[in-house]
Symmetry: C2
Subunit: 113 residues, 2 copies
DNA sequence: TTTCATACTTTCAAAACGCAAGTAATTTAG
DNA sequence: CTAAATTACTTGCGTTTTGAAAGTATGAAA
């Protein structure tokens, strides 16, 4: 049995996704990556204010899940930078669906721009 | 300020959605409702094995969020039963996107049937 | 009516969270 | 070049949430 399936609660793709994204912060990191964030400070600067220990943990978990990979920073600095893999970019429909639901059903939510 | 916006981390619809669904169990309850589950035992029987205290908590939270509402059981019993509201049914695209992502990127996941 | 099933609630240890402070490496200012 | 500031974390610790188990009360069945 694989390492991933060993800790899997069921073969349900939804349950499996929640094993990775089932918390209040992980998908916000993915959201920020989709908007172009790439460095630690970028994620930390998001309005939700993720604690730095959780941010470090989430980036590590997303990396080991193959959703995020290290990259060179766009500005050439030697600070660590991160970007979505194909697996990570494939989460766009999930984010979009959640965004659309929130915009329609939760009063006062809005996109930036 | 409304009760909902008071505890909101940001006006982002994604963050707002995660305030409600950002845990490992809530969306599984919604999934089961979409598949026709309506009674406590139905949710408890799901393969993931949600602890009963968490199930009670999640059903209560989904109700107060207007995603789930009480209804009469289809078999006429007087046990409590639950169903999705319009707001809850509107989560279908979110579940579908998560399911599709899992099916494509997480080996060994599968739908039932 | 007594037995079983259902729908929870309670208890409690373990894990996760979140805030604050500390540290090491990188960048910038002078 | 050097000192100060920024960045990317890690560590500590009190609080909250989780999850496993057992307990209880009501509905259903025999």
């Amino acid at each position: 049995m694989s390492a991933a399936s060993a800790k899997r609660r069921s073969p349900c793709p939804v349950a499996c996704g929640l094993d990775l994204f089932g918390d209040r912060w992980t998908l916000l990191v993915v959201r920020d990556l989709m908007f172009g964030a790439e460095r630690f400070k970028d994620f930390a600067a998001a309005p939700e204010g993720i604690p730095t220990n959780l941010l470090a943990d989430r980036l590590a978990r997303l990396q080991s899940a193959g959703v995020v990979e290290p990259t060179a920073a766009a500005d050439g600095s030697r600070h660590p930078a991160y970007r979505l893999t194909a697996k990570g970019k494939a989460l766009y429909p999930v984010l979009a669906a959640l965004r659309d639901w929130g915009l329609e059903w939760e009063k006062g939510t809005r996109t930036r721009g």
